[in-house]
Each structure stands twice: as C-alpha cells, then as structure tokens.
C-alpha cells in the first residue's frame, strides 16, 4: 500500500535546496547526498505557562502556540508539581482542546429529559432561562433545593455563586466516592487530613508500603516522579494488592491479598510491631495516646490469625512487618487516594494512620510532611443576607458524624427520597455523575425528581444528555481561573491563564458564573471586570510581582521546615492534642475506637469480585474521548486470572484468550458492553479488574462511545461507610460471558 503516492526520488532541486537548508546535517560521503531531516516545527512562537486540568493534581505546564494553534504541552520546569515533566494526560491537553465532540454552543432540551435532544440557543437565552428557573425553584422550595455538583478547578466560581445565592448543598464526588475515608481517618488520628496534593515524602522514604494503591498506574505526576527517584536511590517497596500492579513488579515483597481483607493484614502487622516492640517508643511517648489499648487490641491478631482471612503466609506477614519497621521513621505507608472500597474504609485508613504513628513517620523525613500555603488576599466576602439551611446529604442527624464535606451520594439519595427535604435542582459542573456516583439507576431516579438540571461542561458526557440547559465551558487552555494557593510541602501560588482564545461559542466559567450572578441580583459576588482583573488584583494586593507571576505561571513561597529533622514542631489538632491511636471520638460516636476486621461478602459461585483502578493516560471518563490519549489506550480490558480463565463456565469448547470480547454481568443482571479479555497471571483468581472510565454510552462522545466496559454501570451496589458516608464500591460481583461476534 501507499507505494506510489509519492513522487519518486526528487533528486534535482529538492536535494540542492536541502544542502542550504540543513547545513547542520552530515553529508554521507559515500553517497554524496545531503539528506533531509525536517524539523517538525512544533516549537511555539509563543509559550504560555498555565496549569493542567486533565486530572486534579494540577501540574504547571508550558503550552506551545504556533500560528495560533497549540502544538504541544510540556512541563513547566519552575513549577514544583511538574518539575518540567508531565504525565501523558498533561501532554494530552492538546487533544482536549481540539476534541471535535466538544460542546460548542448553549443548548436547551427540546424533548423528554434524558433523550439527549437539544436546540442551540444564544448565551442570552440560556442564561436568562437558567436564572429564571433558579429563582422559580428558590421561591417554590427555598434556595437549598438546588445542589451544585462540582469537580475541577473552574468549579470555584459556581461554588461562590450558589453559596451566595443560599444553598449549602455544594458537593464533589472526590470526597465520598474517593478520598473521604482517608481524610476522616487522619483527622480522627492526627487532627489533620492528608489533603491534596499529598504532602508525603516519597522521595526520601527508604521503604514504601502501598495498600492497594497502584502508584505508576495511578499517575499523580509528582508522586510518580518521587517514586522513581526513591527506587533509583534504592528504596524498598512492599506492595499489597490482589493484582500484580506495576508497583508490585518493582517491589521486594508483593502480597497478593484476598480483596477486602486489608484490615486483617494491617492488624497482624501491628501485632508483630507492637509485641516485638519494634515501634518508635520515644515518638509515641511524646506524641501519642492509646498505645496500651492498642497493645491489648492487637494481642490475639497474630499473622496466624490473619492467614486464613487474607490468604497470606504468616511467615511472610511477620517478615514484612519486621521489614517495614526496620526502616522507620523513613518508612512510608502510603495513604492512598481512591479508598472507597468496602464501606469500612475509614477503619482501614485508621489502621494505616496508626501504623504510620507506630513507625514515627508523621512529621518525619521520608514520611508525612507538614504542608504550608501562601497567603492570598481575597475580595471582601459578599453576603446576600439569606439564611442557610443544613445540607441535605444526611437524612438523620446521627448519620456519618465524621463527614468532613457534604456528600455527593447523600445529596443524590436526598433527591430520590425528598428527605430531609426535597432537592429539586442540580447544577452539575464538570462531573459526569452517571459514572462518578455508584448505581447509575439511582442517579437517574434522582434526576427524574428534578425541576431543573443545568450542566456546565466541555464535553457531552452522559450527564449532559440528561440536562435541561447545557452551558458549554471553555477548556482550561482557553480561560482564566482563580489563583491556586496550594497547601504542599513547598508552598506556591499557581496561575491559570488562557493560552488561546475560546473556541466555538464556549465561555470561561468565570464569565458564565458572573453573568448568572448579574441575573440573580448577586452582581457583588464577582466584583471584578473579568478573570484577568481578579488574578492581577489578588496577586498585587498580596504583594507578589504580577508580571513575573504571569510570565512564570507560578510564584514560589518561602520554604519552611516540613519535618522534625528540619526543626518543625509537630502539632496535633485532636481533642487530646496528641496522635490518638485509640479514638475516644469514635467510641463516643458509637464506632470501634480501634479498627476491627469484618469479613467481606464472598463472591457467589462462578462470579468474580469486580475491582477497578486507574491507567496513567486517563482520568476516569473525562479523558477517554481524547484522541491523543485514545492513541495510547483506546479501550479498557477485563483482567482475568489465567488459571481461572481455563475453567470458566461456558468456555469449555473454546477457552478464553486475551483479545476475545466478553461481557460482564453483575449480581443484579446488569450487563456490560463488549470488552476485551486480558488473560493474565497478574491477578488473583477470585477477582477481575477494569480500568475505570470506559464504556461510555453518550453518543456525542463519538470516539469513546461503546469502547470498553463501564465499571460504574456494574456498580449497582455499594456499602456506605457509617463513619463518614463514603460509598464502598468493590462489593459487586460479575460473571463472564462471551460477547457475540
């Protein structure tokens, strides 16, 4: 193919010209020919610093613009999160900007909700309609009947808007569907959450222990950079995962644990460390309370006790406990990030927090560092004078007492049940609730109860198809957002500024929110003229060099001591002002003051536990329509253990092979779309694994539509964490059926 489309050997003028053009290239003396080696000319005639929005780590980037078009995006060497290097998603921002499926103009629904039929309207009409229907909702039900679901940095404008308007229901699935249990557990134990970006010292850790966290596949850039540096300088890894993850492949110890039994392993590790007194006694003496209770609690929980629960050899459990303790205090038990697994997640994260304390790693080099942030002036807060109701996410007062944020899943439930009060309007900013919340059927039920659903988004994701009004936002490369003063081990302020003009009829979030505020009688909420004025005013009022900040994309703050070794003083915001190994706070609320293991439900015969995780080139379903990233991973695969595949019911005649298409059917009869099988030694036989974010059903996502399987659709069940309301989602089971050819 393609043999003769080219003109055959243009020796004459082309070659002569090339000599002049490519003087730096060698002439092959034996062929007497100068060869062309063209410069692809992707360097920008302008280079604009901003920060990434492909995931929520928000690395500093440099966008190259050539003749008005973004050609490539590279890391900003001055930015402490990217250090000049990006993960594939960061470079894939170009594919987000030029995605042909982008929402182009405001739209209003013209048929039944959910049929995904819209007419394009002017911004004037769309904004008037949104404001009018918001006010109608407020007068009929009260402002609290509107909930804002938001994920992404531009969401801050809408948070400000709806809070001023009078609703407390501002939620992000990143809490109750992701890192919430971790935050609650560390707040309970240390009086302070871990936060994002996590101020952990992976680089200086001598031993890194990962509990189901698949760093490297889970690609938070700075963490992975430090992870590689740690490996490069000889750090040891202990990886606990039912799957032989990339991190497991680099580990000294891989513990292929039975899913859902991590608490038993962690208690057994503590048993060894406590009974053999391998903990940091001075540190605990100085900073912690509850060691005696812990000692008693873990007394019987030996490696032998954990063996039948976890499937892990007791000798291995004992050996790894000693190994981990041997590197303290620079022995980092990683706190993970997406930790909503089994509904007892706060207690599992408590185990990790307590273990970290035994190792003396909070506030120590190679452990958990003390983050700081830079001060930034704010415009005077505006109050509409309206009273604020309680949030709707907790149907009764005693539910989820340690929830640190309003729960997205709780607001969804309240929308279905109308308790404690009816939620009748959703404003959804950049979060595809059909994939982000468990049990999409419940989400659809909730949507059926709504008087108003407004979607503000870049792409026509599933949730957008359910909207009444669609407001197309510009991508992060086309807009200003508010300044970001990160709380991190080195404090900095990052600037998001437009690289190119907004495409189509999309508008920056600040503009949309400001226009709505004007129509809602809340013009004072945004007292600046535009996004740039806001940034300049805040930088200047805070005493920073505005031009340097805009040129560099980042302002770095003074480096302060981040650990005891550097002279930092440790402070704990708990009731006792100490690390609470034993938690009176939990006991008082009726929960286990020290973590107990409760066995997970077993997969029914012939079924596998459905596990999900991340791939380094995708951020959930947000990036799966991105052609640039799709070229790296265009669909997900279902991982199934090779031996389990050989004895799979229904495959007796033709055993399942890698690359065969199958469907997954869950315990409630929900069937996935066709998905490729990956038959592998790299996973236990009792679980299957999918990368999250695939299996889109929205037709407007013309690339991602029907590619791979959606773990979200199969997650019809979830277990709610009684401590903080997180939704444990690894509690679904699937069987595997061959997909028709």
């Amino acid at each position: 193919m393609a043999l003769s489309r080219r003109k055959f050997i243009k020796i004459g003028s082309t070659t002569a010209g090339a000599v002049a053009l490519t003087s730096g290239l060698t002439t092959d003396w034996w062929s007497l020919q100068a060869h062309q080696l063209p410069d692809p000319r992707t360097d920008g005639d302008r280079i604009v610093p901003t920060f990434c929005e492909l995931c929520f780590w928000k690395c500093g980037v440099l966008a190259h613009v050539r003749e008005g078009r973004v050609t490539k995006i590279v890391g900003n060497p001055k930015h402490p999160l990217s250090n000049g290097r990006l993960c594939p998603r960061g470079a894939g921002g170009v594919g987000a900007l030029y995605d042909p499926d982008r929402l182009k103009r405001p739209m209003i629904r013209v048929s039944k909700r959910g049929e995904d039929k819209f007419e394009e309207v002017s911004w004037e009409t769309a904004l008037d309609e949104t404001a009018a229907r918001m006010e109608k909702l407020r007068l009929k039900y009260g402002a609290e009947a509107l909930a804002l679901f938001t994920h992404g940095y531009g969401g801050s404008w809408f948070t400000q808007l709806v809070k001023a308007w009078g609703t407390p229901n501002v939620v992000a699935p990143s809490y109750a569907q992701c890192r919430g249990p971790r935050e609650a557990a560390f707040e309970i134990t240390y009086g302070q959450g871990v936060g994002s970006p996590e101020a952990i010292d992976i680089r200086n850790a001598r031993c890194i222990t990962l509990i189901g966290s698949h760093l490297g596949e889970n690609m938070h850039n700075t963490q992975v950079q430090e992870f590689a540096d740690a490996i490069g300088s000889g750090a040891q890894l202990v990886v606990v995962d039912p799957r032989y993850s990339v991190a497991a492949s680099k580990a000294k110890y891989w513990l292929p644990i039975k899913p859902g039994t991590d608490i038993a392993l962690l208690l057994a590790w503590m048993n060894v460390i406590v009974t053999e007194k391998r903990y940091d006694a001075d540190y605990l003496d100085k900073y912690a309370t509850g060691l005696a209770e812990l000692e008693l609690h873990v007394a019987g929980k030996t490696p032998e006790w954990a063996y039948p629960i976890t499937g892990l050899d007791p000798g291995l459990i004992r050996e790894t406990a000693r190994f981990i303790a041997g590197f303290r205090p620079s022995s980092l038990v990683h706190p993970g990030r997406h930790v909503t697994w089994y509904g007892d997640d706060t207690q599992r994260m408590r185990c990790i927090a307590i273990l970290a304390a035994l190792l003396g790693s909070w506030g120590r080099r190679g452990g958990y560092l003390l983050p700081s942030s830079m001060g930034l002036r704010k415009y005077p807060p505006f109050s509409s004078g309206r009273g604020m109701a309680d949030a709707a996410d907790k149907p009764t007062a005693e539910h989820y007492p340690m929830a640190g944020e309003v729960l997205a899943s709780g607001v969804c439930e309240a929308t279905v049940s109308a308790a404690p009060y009816g939620v009748k309007g959703w404003m959804v900013y950049g979060t595809n609730l059909i994939q982000a919340l468990p049990n999409p059927k419940q989400t659809e039920e909730a949507i059926a109860n709504l008087d108003l659903l407004v979607a503000i988004d870049v792409l026509p994701a599933e949730i957008v198809g359910w909207a009444d009004i669609v407001l197309p936002e510009s991508t992060y490369l086309e807009r200003h957002d508010d300044l970001w003063a990160a709380s991190y081990k080195e404090p900095f302020v990052a600037i998001r500024q437009p690289v190119v003009e907004p495409m189509f009829d999309s508008k920056p979030g600040w503009w949309i929110a400001k226009e709505l505020a004007n129509r809602l009688g809340l013009a004072e909420v945004f007292p600046w003229k535009n996004g740039e004025e806001n940034i300049r005013w805040r930088l200047e009022e805070s005493g920073y060099d505005v031009e340097a900040a805009l040129r560099d994309g980042v302002v770095k703050g003074e480096v302060v001591p981040v650990c005891e070794e550097e002279g930092a003083e440790l402070y704990f915001g708990t009731e006792s002002e100490k690390i609470e190994l034993f938690s009176q706070q939990l006991a008082d609320a009726g929960f286990d003051p020290l973590p107990e293991f409760t066995p997970p439900d077993e997969p029914p015969l012939g079924m596998f536990r459905l596990l999900s995780g991340r791939a380094p080139m995708h951020t959930f379903g947000r990036t799966t329509n991105n052609r640039d990233l799709g070229a790296l991973m265009g669909e997900n695969e279902v991982w199934i253990n090779a031996m389990a595949a050989r004895s799979l019911a229904g495959f007796e005649e033709a055993p399942l092979k890698t690359g065969d298409y199958v469907r997954l059917e869950n315990q409630d009869g929900v069937m996935s779309g066709p998905v490729k099988a990956k038959v592998t030694e790299r996973i236990r036989g009792d679980a299957v694994y999918l990368v999250h974010g695939f299996g889109h059903t929205a037709k407007g996502l013309t690339f991602a539509h029907n590619r791979g399987a959606s773990d979200s659709a199969l997650t019809t069940r979830f277990k709610v964490d009684p401590v903080m309301g997180g939704t444990g989602m690894n509690v679904n089971f699937v069987r595997i059926a061959r997909a028709e050819a």
């Binding site: 393609a2 080219r6 055959f8 992707t42 590279v74 596949e217 690609m219 492949s249 036989g685």
Partner: protein, 184 residues
C-alpha cells in the same frame, strides 16, 4: 568502521527499573514530531514472566535502536535509510518510496508507514539534539527513565550509566549493535 569517522556516537539508555509504562514518552514524541494517531515512533513493551504469584515484569520504552549495523540501511533500495550524524540512522522521506523493505528488515519493528506514503521512525529528535536539547521523550519522562547522550564522551550521563550498570541489548544475536541500552 565507517562510524569511526563520526566524532559523536549518540545512544540512549532506558532504565526499566524506573519506568512505570505510563507512555508519557509516546505522547511527548507524537506531539513533538507530529506523529499521526495510528503511527508510533516509540512504544511501551511490558514483559511478564512466571506464574501467579511468582512473577517478574520488565517495562521497556522502545524505539528505533539506531543500530551501528543497521539492516534497514543495508536493505533500503533507494538510499533513503542512511547513517547520519552521531551514528544515528535516519530515513530521508524525500527518497523513500514506501516500499517497506526496511520494515521487513528491522528486527525491532521500529518503523511504520506514514499516511503520506513514506516510512517513518524515531530520529532521536535530531532537530532538538542539534540545538543542544534532549529528545522529547527523554525531556518529558516523568520518571527520568531515559537518558540520551554521546557515548564517546566519557563524562556523559549515558557513558556513566553504562559504566555503572551492565546493560541489556535487545536481540543481540541479530548482530545489529543497537544503540538503545536497557538497564534491568
């Protein structure tokens, strides 16, 4: 023996121990070089050995090996594939007829047919190297798993890495003398 005439000898060292297989190198290359969606100048290979739970795995970022004894050059009927600066192997798209003899000859499957009809592959980003920058994949790699430089300069990072670590070569039996070295 011809290559002794070159002052520099460019090579890449890829540390499989640091690599997480994220494909940042693949996208950095694609963006830098305008590689079409269905073409790849570099790619990730993940090689797993053993049976559950006794496993080992190697993750490699691969590309044209810029062989010292390159079968693509030997087999190219038009002279498009040639040795170039620093011992690199380049393909001149103006001379290429898209006959694919090089693709058949390459033991590393390093080349693909560009939609415009010529055969394309990694250039070691010579357009960047010429002005003192690293190849895009090296510069962008978040795990610093890639190093590039001149093996004839004993102070270069690649020379140092190869002095300190015995490297692995891919398909050494082909006699190609590749200039992409793997640390395992």
């Amino acid at each position: 023996m011809l290559l002794k005439n070159y002052r520099k000898r460019y090579a890449m060292v890829m540390d499989t121990r640091r690599c997480v297989g994220c494909q940042a190198c693949v996208l950095a290359c694609k963006a830098e070089n305008g590689v079409p969606h269905n073409g790849y100048r570099d790619w990730i290979v993940t090689e797993t050995k053993g049976e559950f739970p006794h496993l080992s795995m190697e993750i490699r970022s691969e590309r044209c090996m810029h062989c010292t004894n390159a079968p693509c050059v030997t087999n190219c009927p038009t002279g498009a594939s040639h040795y170039s600066k620093g011992g690199t192997v380049q393909s001149d798209r103006a001379l290429c007829t898209g006959c694919k003899a090089c693709i058949a000859a390459c033991p590393y499957d390093a080349r693909y047919v560009h939609p415009d009809g010529f055969v394309d592959k990694c250039t070691f980003c010579m357009h960047r190297v010429e002005r003192g920058a690293n190849p895009a994949c090296v510069e962008g790699c978040p795990t610093k798993a890639l190093a590039f430089g001149d093996l004839n300069d004993s102070a270069s990072e690649v020379a140092r890495l190869l002095r300190e670590n015995p490297p692995k070569l891919l398909s050494p039996e082909e006699g190609t003398e590749p200039n992409l070295y793997f640390l395992i």
